[in-house]
């Protein structure tokens, strides 16, 4: 893949060489990230990777320890820049004595050219919730209303931080359809998620973060290759060094007598394992989870190779 991605037009939001420390904790460690016009960028990564911190910086909620942050070419603290932005945060408390249409009206008032109340309700798929007090909604309905608040201002750039957590399948499909519609309409979207399926369903481009840095970047297809790796566990007498030398093995580790192997071709590895040691036991093959894929990426990534996707 391209080492230096070509920029299509100017970035709507950008982080350049951003470090963010909280005391001893390093949340972002030299992150470069940009959001291009009309794209749906999905930011994947395990908890603590720095996804939410990156978003908080782009929204001007926090200042970087060092590095540059730009939103529509301005400081994110600039109100004029934030008028182009909609946001759905992971955890938010809204004034829950208000009804849904009150919340939408209150939020729409901050924007120069918002959707009408009816348009917002319809786009978010919450027409029936309008007159309900926010406090009386279920967790999933609250997420849907938060999505409505994110889109009501007709944002050019929409930040969705784990938007579908806690939603049932129908609600998730409705939200996905709305997100696709917004991208078709020319909006850019930054979506953080734990779910690879969500990125697969929506994203044009995927950035994988770990430990405050970008460890991989590419199309959904390229990212999928990382996640189709399988995990093979067994107890075997075969030496770890021998296993590591097999071409199908991308990584291997030993804990006590237990060997864990990561591979794209599990069948070939199992054949070799049984050939080398017919007495092996506790054989188990499973699809590597996203978090395992991320963990490997983190372990594999050195500062020099962090542009490589797979």
């Amino acid at each position: 893949m391209k080492a230096e991605p070509q920029i299509q037009g100017a970035a709507l939001a950008a982080l350049r060489g951003v470090h963010k420390r909280y005391g001893e904790t390093v949340a972002l460690n030299g992150l470069d990230l940009e959001v291009r016009p009309g794209e749906l960028l999905s930011v994947l990564g395990p908890n603590g990777a720095g996804k939410s911190t990156a978003i908080a910086l782009m929204l001007g909620l926090q200042e970087p320890t060092s590095g540059e942050v730009r939103l529509f070419g301005r400081s994110p603290r600039d109100l004029a820049a934030r008028r182009g932005v909609g946001v759905m945060m992971q955890e938010v408390m809204l004034p829950d004595a208000l009804r849904v249409h009150d919340l939408i009206a209150m939020t729409s008032a901050y924007y120069p050219d918002p959707l009408t109340l009816a348009e917002t309700l319809a786009l978010a798929g919450v027409e029936k919730l309008g007159p309900r007090p926010y406090a009386k909604l279920s967790g999933g309905q609250k997420r849907q209303v938060q999505f409505a608040l994110a889109i009501c201002g007709r944002p050019r750039l929409l930040f969705l931080d784990e938007p579908t957590t806690g939603l049932d399948i129908n609600a998730r499909e409705t939200m996905w359809a709305a997100v696709r519609g917004l991208v078709t309409g020319g909006a850019s979207i930054v979506l953080t998620t734990h779910y690879i399926e969500e990125a697969e369903a929506l994203a044009d481009r995927v950035v994988v973060m770990a430990k405050g840095r970008q460890v991989a970047e590419g199309t959904v297809e390229e990212m999928r290759k990382i996640v189709v790796r399988k995990r093979v566990d067994c107890v075997t007498a075969t030496a770890l060094a021998v296993i590591e030398a097999w071409p199908e093995v991308s990584a291997a580790a030993q804990t006590g007598r237990q060997v864990s192997i990561t591979t794209i071709d599990a069948e070939a590895v199992v054949r070799r394992l049984l050939g080398a040691d017919p007495a092996l036991s506790d054989l188990e093959v499973r699809r590597a989870g996203l978090s395992e894929a991320f963990a490997e990426l983190t372990a594999e990534a050195t500062p020099e190779t962090n542009q490589e996707a797979a």
């Binding site: 920029i7 037009g9 100017a10 970035a11 709507l12 950008a14 350049r16 940009e34 929204l59 001007g60 909620l61 730009r70 529509f72 070419g73 301005r74 109100l79 004029a80 820049a81 934030r82 008028r83 182009g84 932005v85 946001v87 945060m89 955890e91 938010v92 408390m93 809204l94 004034p95 004595a97 208000l98 009150d102 009206a105 209150m106 939020t107 008032a109 901050y110 924007y111 120069p112 050219d113 007090p133 201002g153 050019r156």
Partner: protein, 257 residues
């Protein structure tokens, strides 16, 4: 790599900007009227206390006393919305992430605070209307229309120091104890500042630290009742207190959100 120099976002018209301030004030007031834990004590306590101490217990104590009671409970009642509206809500909202969400949104600068200020006004007006109605119908209050009008003007200034004290508490007290701090300060402002009975001894020396002491003198003077000290001085002290507390709170708010 070039960062976008242009802003594709349409400009906000002045009309919409002013509309945003009023919308915030409207929904801030609306949600608090709909929150009984807030609106019941703020609206009901002054009128209940006044009815009990000012009307029932002092029915035959004479016009001057009736007027003093009325003015005292008016000062008490008008201070409540600002003190609790800012004191408890700012502390809780800083903690809950509502403030974080609003700071991420293009909420106009200052709208968070002005919406609470306007909310405090709306509540203070309701409290004042209830007290005036009770005072004139049951409390033997003999203030003339002009005196009541001047009292209302003084009270409308009194909302500011109340909000400043509340804002200071809200910015420095942890969410879990902000209500306790606000209540203690409210009690001090009510009973140690001489709103209802004369203060003596050490408490008299520290009486001027309470904004309600200065506000009460202004209120009494405006209603034609005996008062202490110089009125310009009371106004100056209240202004300095308000600005100092607001400044200290705004610094904290800007630093930590």
């Amino acid at each position: 790599m070039t960062l976008a120099a242009t802003n594709p976002v349409p400009a906000m018209s002045l009309k919409r900007l002013i509309g945003a301030y009023f919308s915030d004030a409207k929904y801030e007031s609306l949600r608090l009227f709909r929150t009984p834990a807030f609106s019941m004590p703020i609206l009901a306590m002054p009128i209940l206390f006044y009815s009990f101490f000012g009307v029932i217990l002092n029915g035959k104590a004479g016009a001057v006393f009736a007027n003093q009671m009325f003015v005292g409970w008016t000062v008490y009642g008008v201070m409540g919305p600002g003190l609790f509206g800012f004191g408890i809500l700012v502390a809780v909202e800083r903690n809950q992430g509502l403030l974080t969400f609003k700071r991420a949104l293009p909420m106009p600068t200052g709208s968070y605070l002005t919406s609470k200020l306007m909310m405090a006004y709306v509540f203070a007006i309701v409290v004042m209307i209830m007290l005036v109605t009770a005072g004139l119908t049951m409390g033997h209050v003999t203030l003339a229309g002009a005196q009541l009008f001047r009292l209302a003007a003084v009270m409308s200034l009194g909302v500011f120091p109340a909000c400043a004290v509340g804002l200071f508490i809200g910015c420095y007290a942890p969410a879990s104890s902000a209500a306790a701090f606000a209540n203690i300060v409210y009690l001090g402002m009510a009973f140690l500042s001489g709103l209802f009975f004369p203060i003596s001894g050490v408490l008299k020396t520290i009486q001027p630290i309470w904004p309600t002491y200065h506000l009460a003198q202004l209120a009494r003077a405006s209603a034609g009742l005996p008062s202490q000290g110089s009125m310009p001085q009371h106004i100056a002290i209240l202004a300095v207190m308000t600005l100092a507390l607001t400044f200290a709170a705004a610094r904290k708010l800007a630093r930590t959100g």
